[in-house]
């Protein structure tokens, strides 16, 4: 007599129940299903109606997977419900912490005059565009009202190093206040590195300030994109990078790129330049539809489709580099994969729901105006103050955080209630981006079939899933990207 029961003994006589999930056609032959927390499963098209009609049998090849991934459950099983609730709570845990990133626009002055710049440039001698100590004090009052256990203060411009005195003032004052508040306090300066001095680097080292810079690619492309007197932006960047790495540590300087029409045929060269300069990651970003990008028509110089070609070519190249032993990460893919393959949400403002505007990041402009996001103040520089939440000198923390400008934007764009998004299988990976849709469609929700944001992201989600399915080695690589420390 066997010690074990027959396999048939474990087959449930009960019919399964459905758990909440969404679906979309992945291609002509398949559907993708996603559950409440973004776990996905792909099925042949003809099986969808069978599953929803409770006619899938236990011996079907998809039954066990659908049960394990919480798309279906047996009537007496409570664990799937509790596990889904736990995962959902984990996904949304970041919301309870509220605002972490506080952007201080310490000056609008800049030594560069980039045609796609997202804020109005002002010449270097206009002190009228600098943040004052009084404004900085009020901004710090605001920062420490946030309940977040982690506080990141990022200095932006213009070129923040042109008003380094106020950077120093904010850092010292914030550290002083933090002796009482005891938050996990971090500082970042977003700079072109062109104006670095030994004094600045010493201060950064003493206060553990990280530098975030800009590199658009090889010298010719970078200099075309980023004009400055002397036409030597790239040279200045490289010199600054070397000095900063030496003074602060190799990994204390990061770089971001912006894609212009001139970048489109050069994605491999751009990646190679990042590699040559010792970076291990790149963020292949589309140009944002704000500021001078619109004024100078740069934004319209390529569409979502052309950008996707650029992105896919770049991603393919990066995958090949990894396969041949060079560790290199594409950051946008990494953010999305974290949402797809883990219970965590990386908290990337553009891909958050509710939108990250104001609650994941908030901006204090040089003049004391408070904006829901960096893009919001860029719009304001163009004359559109829709997302101006208030003023540090005139409004309290409560008035700003509970302002209609913020709450309406968050509530009305919540993707679980927005037309099309609410039914979309890719919604768990996507985000509400009220500022983008307002800028382009003059409507914070926007009609998604016409939205380049939707087109771009949907295409990337499908592309990443396709890559994972077609090559086990890519799946392993993507799992590493999703589970980065």
């Amino acid at each position: 007599m066997s010690k074990f029961k027959d396999l048939e003994s474990y087959v449930s006589a009960e019919q399964y129940n459905l758990l909440p999930f969404k679906f979309d056609r992945l291609n002509d032959q398949e559907y993708i299903l996603t559950n409440m927390v973004g776990e996905f499963h792909i099925i042949p098209s003809q099986k969808l109606e069978t599953i929803i009609g409770h006619r899938l049998t236990e011996d079907d090849s998809d039954f066990a997977n659908l049960r394990a991934k919480h798309f279906i459950h047996l009537p007496k099983e409570n664990a799937p419900v509790e596990l889904l609730a736990l995962k959902l709570r984990t996904k949304l845990a970041r919301l309870a912490n509220f605002t972490n990133l506080h952007l201080f626009v310490v000056t609008l002055r800049c030594d560069h005059s980039c045609p796609y710049c997202q804020v109005s440039r002002q010449s270097e001698d206009k002190a009228a565009f600098d943040m004052t100590e009084q404004t900085a004090d009020k901004a710090l009052d605001f920062v420490f009202r946030s309940p977040s256990p982690g506080i990141k203060i990022e200095f932006q411009g213009g070129e923040p190093l042109l008003n380094f005195e106020i950077v120093k003032y904010v850092v010292i004052q914030a550290e002083e206040r933090n002796k009482i508040f005891n938050r996990d306090l971090h500082f970042v300066i977003a700079t072109t590195l062109s104006l670095l001095t030994d004094e600045i680097l010493e201060f950064c080292k003493a206060h553990k300030i990280v530098l975030s810079s800009s590199l658009d690619g090889p010298e010719e492309l970078h200099n075309q994109n980023r004009p400055r007197p002397g036409k030597n932006s790239h040279q200045k960047f490289v010199e600054g990078l070397d000095r900063a790495r030496l003074a602060l540590g190799y990994d204390q300087v990061s770089a971001l790129m912006t894609t212009t029409d001139k970048s489109l045929p050069q994605v491999k060269e751009i990646v190679d330049e990042y590699l040559r300069l010792g970076f291990h990651e790149i963020f292949l970003r589309a140009l944002s539809p704000y500021g001078f990008a619109i004024k100078t028509k740069k934004f319209m110089s390529y569409d979502a489709e052309r950008w996707l070609e650029f992105y896919k070519e770049g991603l393919d190249y990066i995958i090949e580099l990894n396969k041949s032993g060079t560790r290199f990460v594409e950051q946008y893919a990494s953010l999305i994969l974290t949402k797809m393959l883990t219970p965590s949400d990386p908290g990337f403002v553009d891909l958050m729901n509710p939108s990250g505007a104001g609650i994941a990041a908030i901006v204090f402009n040089y003049d004391g105006a408070v904006y829901a996001s960096d893009e919001s103040r860029m719009l304001a520089e163009m004359g559109d103050k829709t997302f101006r939440l208030g003023h540090l000198a005139e409004n309290t923390y409560e008035e700003i955080i509970l302002s209609d400008a913020l709450l309406d934007a968050l509530e009305n764009t919540f993707t679980l209630s927005v037309p099309m998004c609410s039914d979309c299988a890719f919604e768990p990976y996507c985000g509400a981006d009220p500022v983008y849709h307002h800028a382009i469609h003059k409507d914070i929700v926007g009609r998604k079939p016409e939205s380049a944001f939707c087109q771009r992201n949907m295409a990337i989600f499908k592309h990443l899933i396709g890559l994972m399915r077609s090559d086990p080695q890519v799946k392993q690589l993507f799992l590493r990207w999703a589970n980065r420390c």
Partner: protein, 101 residues
């Protein structure tokens, strides 16, 4: 100029909400006028200015598939609503976010 197209659905088999949702998904290619007469849901599909004939024909096919998808979505959503609310209830219980605690 691309011609418009008329499609008719039987009201007994199709849900108007499903057709409206499918029409929304296609609004970048064509607009849909929906009317109901004698148990028939009539859809007049009018291509947007600049839509090619091939693009319109492809999108009409997609629209028909979308109607079926939306029909299933409505069914699935209605059936799983109680358990979705239960999951949300458990997820947000004891978070201190509820009023009156």
């Amino acid at each position: 100029m691309t011609e418009h197209m008329q499609i008719t659905f039987d009201e007994k088999s199709y849900n108007v909400e499903a057709i409206q949702k499918a029409a929304y998904r296609s609004l970048n290619i064509f607009t849909v006028d929906i009317s109901i007469t004698d148990g028939k849901i009539n859809c007049l599909l009018q291509p947007n200015i600049g839509t090619s004939e091939a693009g319109f024909a492809h999108s009409v096919e997609e629209f028909k598939k979308d109607v079926l998808d939306q029909h299933l979505r409505i069914k699935l959503k209605a059936e799983t609503e109680p358990i979705r609310n239960l999951i949300l209830g458990i997820a947000f219980s004891n978070t201190g976010l509820q009023g009156g605690e």
